[in-house]
C-alpha cells in the first residue's frame, strides 16, 4: 500500500490558488486597513504559508497518523511514561462546550460548575498524595518540579535560611537537575548503592546546612520502592531540608501508600501518565503539585477556594511565589484526570496499582531468563533489564533489541535509562494490558535474542523507514523545509 502523499510535505503539496477555509463577507462597513493600522505596520503580502484544499490537508495528516505507533494501536511499554489506555469518554467530556468554550477571564459566576470540578480535583489529589495543599497551575511534570523548587526557595527565603543546594540520586530523571538549575539552585548528585536504592551513608555525607531539597523518585526509576524512605526523609528533615517526590511513578502506589505518609513535603503528579492523559504525541500534560500546610502559603496564585456552595479563585495570597503559567493551567488535561479518578473511585485506583504491579512482575518473571534483570526478581510497576551480557557475548545491544521489537509490532521500552544500568531496557506494561499481550511480548524478546546479530543491527526491517542517521541530523541540521530542497 504505497502512499506517496504521506511522505510529501505540506509545502510540496501546495499549489497557488488552492483554498480550504472561506471567510464570510465582512458585515461591517470596511475601511482601508492601512488607514486603520498605519501603512508602516501592514505587510505587502501575507506570510508564505502553503496553499491547500481541505481534502489535501485531511488526507495528508490521516496518512501521517498511520506512520505512528500509539497506545490505541500497539503495546507501548515505554518505561517511566505509563502508556496506559486513554479512555474515549474522557475525550468526549473534556470537549463539552460547557468546558471547552470557557474563556479564562469569564466572571466566576459563569463557571461555577468548572470551579467545583477543579476544587474537587484539588481535594482528591491531596487525599491521594497525603499532602493537603494543591496547585493545579503547572503545565507539565517538569514544570511542577520547577514550581515546587521555587516554593521551597520562597519558604527558605521567608525563614532567612540561605539554602542553595538541591540533591537527587544518580538514577533521577534528567528534569530533576535541570529544574534545580532553573530555580537557581546548585545541584549535587547522590550516588546510589549497588542495589539501586539510596545509599544512606552517601546521603548523610551530602547533607549539610546548605541543603534545601532532596528530590527523590519513589518507586524509583528501577521500579523499586525505596526500602529506607522513612530514614531518608528523617535524615533530610533533621538537617532542616525538604523532601520532594517526583511523582512520575505514582501509578504503582495509588491507594497503597501516600507520599505525605512516607515523608514527602512536596510532589508533582503527571496526570498524562497516572490519570491517563493522553500523551498527545509529546504533550500536553499537566503538573499539579501537592505540598504540606507549612509550604501552602507559597504556592502559585490563584487556587480554587470554596465558601459554602460557591467556588472562587483565591488571589489573596501575599506569600505566594506568583504565577508560573498564564491563566489557570492545562484545564483540559485536568478535566480528563478528574474523569479518570471519578471513574475508578477508591477501590478502582487501588486496583490500578495492583494490576500495574502484577503485570510488571509477571512480565519480569517471563523476561528475566531472556534478558537479565539485575535488581531483583520483584518490582513495582516497572523493571529494568540489562542487555550488558548479550552485548558482551553476542554483540547485541539494548538498541538492537528495541529496534527489532518494532518489527514484531511492539513499541520499544525506554532504553539507556536510568543511567546507572548498562544497556538498560526499562519496561512498564501498565495495568491496561492483558496476559496474552504480555506473553506475546515476552515470546518476541525470547525469539529476538536468538536471532542473528546482523539481522538485529539492521532492524527494523518492516517499518516505513529504517534506522535514521541521527549524527547527520545533528551535524547538518535541517530544521525546516526550504524551497531549494
Amino acid at each position: 500500500m504505497h502512499n506517496r502523499q504521506a511522505v510529501q510535505l505540506l509545502f510540496e503539496l501546495s499549489k497557488p490558488g488552492r483554498r480550504a477555509l472561506q471567510c464570510p463577507p465582512c458585515d461591517v462597513p470596511p475601511a482601508p486597513v492601512e488607514e486603520l493600522l498605519g501603512s508602516d505596520a501592514v505587510s505587502s503580502a501575507p506570510p508564505p504559508l502553503p496553499e491547500l484544499a481541505e481534502p489535501d490537508v485531511v488526507r495528508h495528516y490521516t496518512n501521517l497518523s498511520t506512520r505512528n505507533m500509539s497506545v490505541d494501536t500497539h503495546f507501548y511499554p515505554l518505561g517511566s511514561c505509563t502508556m496506559k489506555y486513554n479512555a474515549k469518554r474522557n475525550e468526549r467530556l473534556a470537549a463539552l462546550p460547557g468546558l471547552a468554550d470557557l474563556h479564562p477571564y469569564q466572571p466566576e459566576s459563569t463557571i461555577q460548575g468548572l470551579l467545583q470540578l477543579l476544587y474537587e480535583l484539588q481535594e482528591m489529589l491531596a487525599e491521594i498524595a497525603g499532602l493537603p495543599a494543591v496547585s493545579l497551575q503547572p503545565a507539565a511534570g517538569a514544570h511542577g518540579e520547577l514550581t515546587a523548587l521555587m516554593v521551597a526557595a520562597a519558604y527558605f527565603r521567608h525563614r532567612g535560611e540561605p539554602r542553595r543546594v538541591v540533591l537527587a540520586p544518580d538514577s533521577a530523571h534528567g528534569t530533576n537537575p535541570a529544574s534545580a538549575s532553573m530555580a537557581g539552585f546548585a545541584f549535587e548528585t547522590v550516588r546510589s548503592s549497588p542495589d539501586g536504592t539510596v545509599d544512606l551513608d552517601e546521603l548523610r555525607s551530602k547533607l549539610d546546612d546548605r541543603t534545601a531539597v532532596l528530590m527523590i523518585t519513589n518507586p524509583n526509576t528501577l521500579g523499586r520502592f525505596e526500602p529506607n524512605i522513612a530514614q531518608v526523609a528523617k535524615l533530610v528533615h533533621d538537617r532542616g531540608a525538604l523532601v520532594y517526590l517526583d511523582g512520575a511513578n505514582m501509578n504503582a502506589i495509588l491507594g497503597v501508600a501516600r507520599p505525605g505518609d512516607f515523608g514527602a513535603d512536596m510532589m508533582h503528579y503527571n496526570p498524562h501518565k497516572t490519570f491517563s492523559g493522553p500523551h498527545g504525541g509529546g504533550g500536553p500534560g499537566a503538573g499539579p503539585i501537592c505540598v504540606t500546610d507549612e509550604l501552602a502559603p507559597f504556592l502559585p496564585s490563584p487556587v480554587v477556594a470554596r465558601s459554602g456552595d460557591r467556588f472562587a479563585l483565591d488571589y489573596d495570597r501575599p506569600q505566594s511565589i506568583g504565577r508560573v503559567r498564564s491563566f489557570f493551567g492545562n484545564v483540559g488535561v485536568l478535566v480528563r484526570a478528574y474523569c479518570y479518578i471519578r471513574t475508578h473511585g477508591p477501590d478502582g485506583l487501588r486496583r490500578v496499582a495492583e494490576d500495574a504491579v502484577l503485570n510488571a512482575n509477571y512480565l519480569l518473571s517471563r523476561v528475566k531468563s531472556t534478558i537479565p534483570v539485575p535488581h531483583g526478581d520483584r518490582c513495582m510497576h516497572e523493571f529494568v533489564a540489562s542487555a550488558e551480557r548479550l552485548k558482551k557475548d553476542r554483540g547485541i545491544t539494548a538498541m538492537d533489541i528495541a529496534k527489532r521489537l518494532l518489527d514484531y509490532g511492539f513499541h520499544a521500552p525506554t532504553v539507556y535509562f536510568p543511567l546507572t544500568v548498562r544497556e538498560a531496557m526499562m519496561i512498564e506494561p501498565t495495568e491496561t494490558e492483558g496476559k496474552e499481550t504480555l506473553d506475546a511480548f515476552a515470546d518476541a524478546l525470547a525469539r529476538i535474542v536468538d536471532e542473528a546479530p546482523e539481522l538485529l543491527h539492521d532492524a527494523p526491517h518492516t517499518t516505513h523507514v529504517s534506522r535514521a542517521d541521527e549524527v547527520r541530523a545533528a551535524r547538518h541540521a535541517v530544521l525546516k523545509w526550504t524551497r531549494s530542497d
Partner: protein, 465 residues
C-alpha cells in the same frame, strides 16, 4: 472496572508464574507502617453513564462562549476552529502516542513537528522554530532566559508594561531567585515611548521584551524598539498574536531576534486557559541555546528522507543540570492543531481572518465610543477610548461613570461576556476594560452589546437576556 484485563483466573496464573501467594505480597517492599490502611477518601466509582451525567451537569452550570456572546480576549480568543482540525487531532494514532523516541515508528509525529517548525518560520520570518513550549507566558520567559544565555548578560532585563501582565508575573517568578533586575518601561498611552525605553536599556541589558500587538491591542513601534535594543547590544524578544500576522509585518522583518506567542488562536479551544501551546522562533545563531524539542531532517539506511529529534545535547535528559531548560515534552497535540489550522487557512485565509478582526473591532470601537480617538464619544458620551495608538483586534474602553464591575455584571446578565476589567493589573485603568472582536462576532452582536452597554445602569437594564 472498564479498563482492566486480568480475570481472577489470569491473576492466579500470573501469581503462580511469579511465585507469589497474593497480590499483596508484591507490595511487601513497602514497609507496613508506611502503607495506607484504609480506602482512599474519595467518591465511589462511576460507570460511563453516571460519569457522563455528572460531568455534563457540571458543564451545564457554566455559560461559555456558545451561550453568551464572547468579547473577551487578553491572550485567549474565540476564533473559529474548522471541523477538520478536530477530526485530524482526534485520531488515536496522534493523541495516544508519545514523544518520538523511536523515529522509525513515529514518522507521523516527527514529520508533523518538522512541518510545524517550517510553518512557524514562515509565519514569523525567523530562521528556526522549536517543537513548541507550554504556553505564551512560559514561551516569553524562556525567550528571555535564552537571551540571557546568548548575551551572557545576567544582570538586567527590560520589559514593556504593555506586555501581558501575567507573562510579566511569570517572568518575575522565574527571576526571583536570580540576581537579575527586571525593569518595566511604562505605557501610559497604551504603548511604550522610545525615550523611556532608551533610558532603561544599557550595556548590561540582556534583552527587551515587548508585545506587538500589545496587551491593550495597540501596535508598538517595533523597529524603533529593535534599534534601541541592538544599539546597546541587547536582543529583542517580541510576543505576537499569530492571527495578526495575516496582515502585520513579521517579527523577523521588524528586527526581533526571538519571537514568542500564545498559539491558542491557531485552532485550539479556549478551554478556560489550557492546554495551549507556546510558540518560539529565533535567529539561526541561537539554535543551540533554544529550549525544547526540535525535529530535524535526515535519511535512513535506505536513503529515504525521514525525521528525528535532534540537537538533543541542549536537553535535560542529556545535559541534566547544564541543560538550556528543564522542559521535557512539547505540546505536541496542540502544535498539531496549529499546523492543521495554518494549512487550512493558507496565506489568504489567514489574511481574511485578520482583516475581519480589524474591521469588526474598529466598527465596534466606533459604536461604543464614537471612534478611535480619546476625544470621540459614543451615543451617550459615557464611553471613550483612552488610547489613540492603532489597534489590531482589541481595544481599551473607559467608562466615565467608573462602574466597570457593575457594567460588566449587567452585560453578563444580558448574555454578553463584554470585556476584561483591567483594575487587577493596572490600577490607573480601574475605570477601563478590554474588548476583543474576532471574526466570529457579527455586526448584530456588536450592535446588541453596544445597546446593552448604553442601557446599563438604567432601571430597565439586566432584565432581558
Amino acid at each position: 472496572m472498564p479498563y482492566f484485563f486480568n480475570t481472577p483466573d489470569d491473576r492466579q496464573a500470573m501469581l503462580a508464574a511469579i511465585g507469589a501467594g497474593s497480590v499483596d505480597e508484591l507490595f511487601a517492599s513497602i514497609p507496613a507502617e508506611l502503607r495506607l490502611k484504609r480506602p482512599l477518601n474519595i467518591p465511589p466509582a462511576m460507570c460511563e453513564m453516571e460519569l457522563t451525567r455528572h460531568v455534563s451537569a457540571l458543564a451545564a452550570k457554566n455559560t461559555g462562549a456558545g451561550r453568551k456572546v464572547c468579547f473577551l480576549g487578553g491572550g485567549s480568543y474565540d476564533h473559529f476552529v474548522p471541523a477538520a482540525v478536530d477530526a485530524i487531532c482526534s485520531r488515536g494514532e496522534f493523541y495516544t502516542s508519545y514523544t518520538p523516541y523511536q523515529p522509525e515508528v513515529s514518522q507521523g509525529n516527527l514529520q508533523a513537528v518538522f512541518e510545524y517548525q517550517t510553518l512557524i518560520c514562515q509565519l514569523t520570518g525567523l530562521d528556526v522554530s522549536n517543537a513548541s513550549l507550554y504556553d505564551g507566558g512560559s514561551a516569553a520567559v524562556e525567550g528571555v532566559l535564552m537571551c540571557m544565555g546568548v548575551t551572557k548578560r545576567e544582570r538586567k532585563v527590560v520589559v514593556a508594561e504593555s506586555v501581558h501582565p501575567e507573562y510579566r508575573e511569570i517572568l518575575g517568578t522565574y527571576l526571583a531567585d536570580r540576581d537579575t533586575e527586571l525593569v518595566t518601561v511604562p505605557a501610559p498611552g497604551g504603548v511604550i515611548a522610545a525615550a523611556d525605553l532608551d533610558k532603561a536599556v544599557d550595556g548590561d541589558t540582556a534583552c527587551v521584551l515587548i508585545q506587538h500587538p500589545n496587551f491593550f491591542g495597540c501596535l508598538e513601534d517595533v523597529r524603533t524598539v529593535a534599534s534601541i535594543a541592538h544599539d546597546k547590544g541587547a536582543l529583542l524578544v517580541q510576543s505576537f498574536d499569530p492571527i495578526s500576522l495575516g496582515l502585520l509585518k513579521r517579527p523577523g522583518d521588524l528586527g526581533a531576534d526571538v519571537a514568542v506567542a500564545e498559539g491558542q488562536s491557531l485552532g485550539s479551544p479556549m478551554s478556560y486557559g489550557g492546554p495551549y501551546l507556546g510558540i518560539m522562533a529565533c535567529r539561526e545563531a541561537f539554535v543551540r541555546r533554544m529550549p525544547g524539542r526540535i525535529a530535524g531532517q535526515t535519511v535512513d539506511r535506505r536513503g529515504n528522507r525521514c525525521w528525528v529529534l535532534t540537537l538533543q545535547t541542549r536537553e535535560q535528559h542529556i545535559r541534566r543540570e547544564k541543560a538550556t531548560s528543564n522542559i521535557c515534552t512539547n505540546q505536541g497535540l496542540y502544535a498539531l492543531r496549529a499546523s492543521v489550522y495554518l494549512s487550512l487557512m493558507g496565506p489568504h485565509g489567514l489574511r481574511e481572518v485578520a482583516e475581519l478582526c480589524v474591521q469588526k473591532s474598529h466598527y465596534a470601537a466606533k459604536r461604543f465610543a464614537g471612534g478611535g480617538t480619546a476625544s470621540a464619544k459614543g451615543a451617550s458620551g459615557r464611553f471613550e477610548l483612552p488610547f489613540v495608538a492603532p489597534f489590531f483586534k482589541e481595544f481599551v474602553v473607559r467608562d466615565k461613570h467608573g462602574e466597570v464591575e457593575r457594567l460588566l455584571a449587567e452585560a453578563t446578565e444580558s448574555g454578553f461576556l463584554a470585556g476584561v476589567p483591567l483594575a487587577r493589573w493596572y490600577p490607573s485603568l480601574v475605570d477601563s476594560f478590554l474588548v476583543t472582536v474576532t471574526e466570529n462576532r457579527t455586526r448584530a452582536e456588536i450592535d446588541a452589546l453596544s445597546q446593552c452597554l448604553e442601557k446599563a445602569g438604567s432601571p430597565a437594564a439586566g432584565r432581558h437576556a
